[in-house]
């Protein structure tokens, strides 16, 4: 491992530091960690193996281009805090992860891939019971969606341009007897992956799904929306590759998301998004969670980041529920309220009775993150949990 400090061409503004830092992991496979200095004027890179001077100069050039692309002309965001309960008193302040790992409640299968034991599974079950009640308030119809998602359909909604860095591809061996026999005979896992030649694998037709609601929009594509409005709910596994940013239950490669999805006119979607926020606020108060709801943006990749993030912010398209993590004096996004305007309606040709494209929005909860944030605030002993959760656990 080697460390190198680079100055950046222009100070990275405070509001962009975490977003720029997250992207640095994708600059080179040799990067194992990156940190932006407190004044935003330099970047400390940790490399897995030492590199020579020309390689270092090339790395620096790529680093600089990321910083310039993401910060040049960036419009300072309008930070809107809709709810602030971060100072709500909570009884626990330690990091629960060492104990969760030690007692087998969380098992690491691979970076970003974790299994959960009975305590977390039951806790998520309690949250799920509430989310299904919330969905019923909106008469949201239950849906089941596949884990795989069509590459053709994702391309149609420009997903590859916006989030190329976090894609997870599904492939299979090519239909070729020699290739399959050769794989069967020689395949083994080496230091960083399977040793099979890349040419053995098929072209990509499907990916592991990065979100739940896309499947509903794809199912509604190229036809009029029946009745002009729709509410639906589904839970599903989502996959977002986060490179060296993967970090236990805070940032998983494979996680579960519950969504309540609205499709219809702009008023229908926005009114329901707001109604959902008020319902969720009541629930989070009942369980005593310390959190805030504030404006946010999606983690667009470098080339799209500046414009897309500014657009989301300007039009108040995304708000995150950020729960406090007392042990590190930080917050973690555990849910979000999203409005996509008519983006999916236009790209997928979902039309309203008046012929205009449908608007869409969703309310989404990261189930493992919510459970983890809860344990960070209340600990692993259910006896210390707020009464509604203690009762639900026994009920």
């Amino acid at each position: 491992m080697s460390e190198h400090n680079f100055s950046v061409p222009a100070t990275i503004p405070a509001h962009l530091r975490s977003q720029v830092q997250a992207k640095l992991a994708y600059v080179d496979e040799n990067i194992s960690g990156a940190a932006i200095s407190q004044d935003g004027a330099s970047i400390l890179l940790q490399l897995r193996s030492p590199v020579n001077q020309p390689a270092l100069a090339d790395l620096e050039a790529r680093l600089q281009s990321v910083v310039i692309e993401m910060t040049k002309g960036a419009v300072p965001p309008k930070v809107e805090v809709l709810e602030d309960h971060l100072q709500r008193p909570v009884p626990f302040s330690a990091d629960p992860m060492p104990e969760l790992l030690a007692n087998g409640e969380v098992s690491r299968e691979h970076a970003g891939i974790y299994s959960l034991g009975p305590l977390l599974t039951r806790l998520i079950g309690i949250f799920e019971t509430y989310f299904l009640q919330l969905a019923a308030e909106f008469e949201a119809q239950p849906q089941r969606f596949p884990t795989l998602i069509s590459a053709e359909k994702l391309g149609r909604v420009n997903y590859f341009r916006a989030f190329p860095h976090s894609l997870t591809f599904a492939t299979h061996l090519r239909e070729d007897l020699h290739v399959i026999n050769d794989f069967a005979e020689h395949a083994s896992y080496e230091t960083e992956g399977l040793n099979a030649p890349q040419a053995s694998f098929s072209k990509i037709q499907a990916l592991l799904s990065p979100a739940v609601c896309y499947h509903l929009y794809f199912a509604l594509a190229d036809k009029p929306l029946p009745g002009g409005k729709l509410a639906a709910t589904a839970v599903g596994h989502c996959f977002r590759y986060e490179s060296s940013n993967l970090n236990t239950l805070e940032r998983m490669w494979d996680f579960t998301m519950r969504e309540i999805i609205f499709v219809g006119s702009a008023d229908f979607v926005l009114q329901n998004r707001e109604r959902a926020r008020q319902h969720v606020a009541t629930f989070l108060e009942r369980i005593g969670l310390a959190y805030k709801v504030e404006s946010a943006n999606d983690p667009f990749f470098v080339g799209e980041f500046r414009k897309q993030a500014a657009f989301q912010n300007a039009f108040q398209l995304k708000y995150e529920i950020r729960a406090r993590l007392p042990f590190k004096d930080d917050t973690l996004a555990v849910g979000s309220y999203n409005y996509h305007q008519d983006f999916f309606g236009r790209h997928l040709n979902i039309s309203l009775p008046d012929g205009k494209p449908a608007h869409t929005g969703c309310v989404a909860f990261g189930l493992e993150r919510l459970a983890y944030a809860f344990l960070c605030q209340f600990g692993l002993d259910p006896a210390a949990w707020p009464a509604p959760l203690r009762e639900a656990r026994h009920g």
Partner: protein
């Protein structure tokens, strides 16, 4: 710059950003109504307006400048054209 020259200048700038003929930018053109005027094109337009007319557009204003008339009125009030 007189009123009609400003209107023509704006129309031509928007046509260039959206890659359409100037006559496709109608007097009531709006974000979302014109297929080429999507989120990315909107942000390109905001940057181009700043550069062309020497103004700064805040996050609050970005969400208000969503039609040809609103952009025209904003430029008229804020720039020295």
């Amino acid at each position: 710059m007189n009123e009609s020259a400003l209107l023509e200048d704006l129309r031509s700038l928007m046509a260039e950003i959206f890659r359409v003929a100037p006559d496709q930018i109608g007097p009531e053109a709006q974000l979302g109504e014109l297929p080429q005027w999507d989120s990315m094109a909107h942000m390109d337009l905001m940057v181009a307006l700043e550069s062309r007319f020497g103004i700064e557009i805040s996050a609050e204003t970005i969400s208000q400048l969503t039609s040809f008339p609103s952009i025209h009125a904003h430029i008229k009030n804020r720039s020295h054209v």
